[in-house]
Each structure stands twice: as structure tokens, then as C-alpha cells.
């Protein structure tokens, strides 16, 4: 890639940092230059976020209709999966799956609720009271 071809399309990086890229200068030697973004990858990232947000909205609906517990919603909201949530809480994956059931969730001890709240970086109240 030639230096003059390095894209400068505004992206989420603006105001935070710029992306260092390896480009060829006028003499055909490698040098570095900074880019504020490239539409092609911005669109890929935007699409990924649209997909994530759809999943989060879907999870909220499932909580609202009593199909899933808030644990499931916040797992999606914090971009986690069972492996990650298990890592943060120390609970087995199967245990967490059980806690996805609203009926089981209602009877969770304060200790367990606090462990989830800590993993999600929210208060136990917020976790308990989320209703979609």
C-alpha cells in the first residue's frame, strides 16, 4: 500500500487514537503513517455491533416474557458467553444455565446474586429488578 492510498475515513478511533499502518513512501521504502479509519472495517465493526444489539434486545424480550432470567440478559449485554461468565463467577456452566430459568433465579441466595452482580459490574438490586 502506498502512503497516499492510506484511507482516512472517520471511525470510532477519532478523538482517541490513530491506527499505525505500514505504507510505502515515494521512494518505495517502507515507512509508517497514521490513519483515522477505513470505511471497509468500520462497516464490519458496525455490523458486528448491530448483531450484538439485536441479541441484547432479544434477550430483554425473553426476560420480559418470563422465559429467561436477568442473568441471561446481562450475559448478552456484557458480551459474555457461558465460558466467560463461568470464569468471572466461578460457577459451573451448567449451574449458570440453570440460573437462566426465572424460577431458579428467584430463589438465588444473596451471595450468588452478588457474584453475578460483580461479574456484570452492576448492583445486586439492578440485577434482581431487571424485568426486560
Amino acid at each position: 500500500m502506498k502512503k497516499e492510498d492510506l484511507p482516512q475515513d472517520p471511525s470510532a478511533l477519532v478523538g482517541v487514537t490513530r491506527d499505525l499502518c505500514y505504507v510505502k513512501d515515494a521512494n518505495g521504502k517502507y515507512t509508517t503513517d497514521l490513519s483515522i479509519g477505513w470505511d471497509v472495517k468500520k462497516q464490519a465493526l458496525d455490523n458486528a455491533w448491530n448483531d450484538i444489539n439485536e441479541r441484547i434486545n432479544e434477550a430483554a424480550l425473553q426476560v420480559k416474557y418470563g422465559k429467561m432470567s436477568p442473568v441471561f440478559y446481562f450475559m448478552e449485554k456484557k458480551l459474555m458467553d457461558l465460558t466467560l461468565l463461568s470464569g468471572y463467577t466461578g460457577f459451573w456452566k451448567l449451574t449458570i444455565k440453570r440460573h437462566f430459568k426465572p424460577s431458579v433465579f428467584k430463589s438465588l441466595s444473596d451471595t450468588k446474586l452478588t457474584a453475578y452482580a460483580k461479574a456484570f459490574d452492576i448492583s445486586a438490586e439492578e440485577l434482581k429488578n431487571f424485568n426486560g
Binding site: 491506527d19 499505525l20 521504502k29 497514521l34 455490523n47 459474555m80 466467560l84
Partner: protein
């Protein structure tokens, strides 16, 4: 320890591990060290497409070798010992870090990016193999040199602890590392390291058995792409292509899935070993990088929804096949480079 600022020079690089490694070695007097040299000597260039495994709901593809390997391999070739420590206790991890800074050692830290406050929110995923340098403490905050940032930054004690103890795949477990007893490196040592590292990269890309690594891995991805539209439907297939582009072009790659970075390494290496052939091979990697970028543009048209026919997927796949052949020839040429 209220105020302690070590004379570490912030170094912005494309890739975090190169940046921390090169920055630390330069701090210890190895001023010849550059990001391309670190990447090349560490045999960072790679390709792997792991079947079945999913990352963020998409294919698991990497354009570089395992996290941690670049710095380890490069240091070993230069006869530099790297001290690495992981911890089970947060307190121990904090004490150890403070102690090293107190001893005048800037240290590399492995961290998760999900809770890195200075990263743009759109970039914060649960990715745990990010690297930064801690080089001091001031007003209760740690002084941080994060290679992807333009300038140095800071983290509170709590923030640093949180990212050092991120959980999940590749959990950092508070890992810190720093080079020890760094001795001057001679030109002969660098030359020897160059030969060894390019042969290792050639081996990694050409000779690892199985069809998912190296130049064969690129073809494997091409084959998958041809099936995605039928198998997953246009929307999901588009998301998968987006994931490829993100892994390939996202911040930290230097563009073109690290291929430009490797071309820059070969250019620098040709000076060290006085070998014009390496310049020609460098041009081949530039060509490969340009084609990777062109394939990203093509995939972009698909996931932007402008094109979404089977023939558009075929076209992307064909480009990957072409890249695979260019890289195969280039690595075969590298294999033949002899002292």
C-alpha cells in the same frame, strides 16, 4: 511509592506485542530494535483458521502466531532472557508489579481490553491478549504506555488490577514480563537471528501438517467462503466475512493482515544481511498485503449489502486462493535464503 517515573520512551506501534517487546528492549539499550524487526525475528507472521471454534459468533481466524510467542522467540534468538510471572492472588500481583517498578524495571503486562477505559467503547470486546507497559506511578495512578495509543496514558490501581485479572479464554492471570540482564547484541547475532527467524516462518507457513495452518489454511478459508452463502444464508454469511475483515484489518495489524509489517521486516533484514533477494521477496509480501486489502474491499461490498450473489462470494474466495499461491512462492523463496 507516591511518585516514580521511569525513563521509558512511549513507542506507538501497529501491534501491541511488538510494541511492548521492542519498547522494553530499546529501554535496555538495544536501540536497533524496531517493530518490524521484533515481528520478523519473533516469526509473527502466520495464518490459521480453526474449524468449529467460534469467536464472537464468527470464524476463528488469526494472521499471526500465538500471543506471547513473538517476544519470546525474538528474545531467545538475541540471547535475551525474559522473566515472566503469573499470579493467583491479586495482592501478590500488585506487590510484584510495584516492586519491579521500584527496582527501575518497566514491565510488560498482559491485559483484557473489555475494561480498558481509554479504548473506544466500540473496540471493547473480551479479548485478553492485549499488552501494555507500566513504567511508573504518580498520584496513585499507574503510568501506562499502550503501544496502540498515540501518547502515554494512565490507569488507576483498581482499573489496572481489573484488566490484569480479566477472565475467560487467554486469561492474563496478572501476567507481567520484562527482559533481564540485557547484553549488547552484535551485528552477527542479528544476522544469524534473521536467517533462523525467516526459516522458522517458512516452516510455519509451509510445513505444519494439516490443512488449516499457513498457506493451506488460506485455501481452507476460501473453500469455506464458497459454502457460506448456501449454508448460513446471506445475512450470516455477510457477518462472517465481516469478522474476517476485522481480524485482518483491525487496529494492531499494520494493514493487510500483518503482511505489510512482514514486508517492512524483510526490507530491514536485507540491509543487515546484504541480500538483494530479500527485497524482491519483500515486494511479494507487499503484493500479498495489497491483495488482502482488495479482498477486504470485495467482502465489504457484500456485507454492506451492495452485492450478495454466490458469484461475489466466489470472487472473494478466488482472491484468497491467489494470495495463498503468492505467499507459498514467497515462503519457498525465503526457505532458500542461506548465509
Amino acid at each position: 511509592m507516591d511518585k516514580l517515573i521511569l525513563p521509558y520512551k512511549h513507542l506507538q506501534t501497529a501491534h501491541c506485542e511488538n510494541g511492548v517487546g521492542a519498547g522494553l528492549l530499546r529501554h535496555h539499550g538495544l536501540n536497533f530494535m524496531t517493530e518490524p524487526l521484533m515481528f520478523g525475528l519473533g516469526s509473527g507472521i502466520f495464518y490459521i483458521h480453526i474449524p468449529i471454534l467460534m469467536v464472537n459468533g464468527g470464524p476463528a481466524i488469526s494472521y499471526r502466531s500465538m500471543p506471547g510467542w513473538i517476544f519470546s522467540r525474538a528474545s531467545k534468538l538475541l540471547d535475551v532472557k525474559v522473566n515472566r510471572r503469573k499470579f493467583s492472588s491479586e495482592k501478590e500481583a500488585t506487590d510484584y508489579l510495584n516492586k519491579q517498578i521500584g527496582l527501575g524495571n518497566p514491565v510488560g503486562c498482559q491485559v483484557g481490553v473489555y475494561n480498558l477505559p481509554y479504548f473506544p467503547p466500540e473496540y471493547r470486546f473480551h479479548f485478553n491478549a492485549h499488552n501494555l507497559v507500566v513504567y511508573g506511578k504518580e498520584n496513585g495512578n499507574y503510568l501506562i504506555s499502550d503501544p496502540v495509543m498515540e501518547t502515554a496514558t494512565t490507569l488507576t490501581e483498581e482499573e489496572l488490577l481489573k484488566v490484569r485479572f480479566a477472565k475467560g479464554p487467554l486469561a492474563p492471570k496478572g501476567q507481567v514480563y520484562y527482559p533481564e540482564n540485557v547484553k549488547p547484541v552484535s551485528k552477527e547475532q542479528i544476522q544469524k537471528a534473521i536467517y533462523k527467524s525467516i526459516h522458522r516462518s517458512a516452516f510455519d507457513m509451509l510445513n505444519i501438517p494439516g490443512a488449516i495452518c499457513g498457506v493451506d489454511g488460506i485455501k481452507y478459508t476460501a473453500k469455506q467462503i464458497r459454502n457460506w452463502r448456501e449454508k448460513l444464508g446471506p445475512r450470516k454469511a455477510g457477518l462472517y466475512l465481516g469478522q474476517i475483515v476485522r481480524m485482518q484489518e483491525e487496529i494492531g495489524t499494520g494493514g493487510g493482515g500483518f503482511r505489510f509489517l512482514y514486508a517492512a521486516f524483510l526490507e530491514q533484514a536485507s540491509n543487515y544481511i546484504n541480500n538483494e533477494e530479500l527485497l524482491k521477496i519483500s515486494d511479494e509480501f507487499t503484493k500479498a498485503g495489497d491483495l488482502w486489502r482488495a479482498s477486504a474491499v470485495n467482502m465489504g461490498r457484500i456485507y454492506k449489502g451492495r452485492l450478495n450473489e454466490q458469484k461475489d462470494f466466489e470472487e472473494s474466495a478466488n482472491m484468497l486462493d491467489e494470495i495463498s499461491e503468492i505467499e507459498r512462492a514467497a515462503f519457498k523463496a525465503l526457505r532458500k535464503i542461506k548465509a
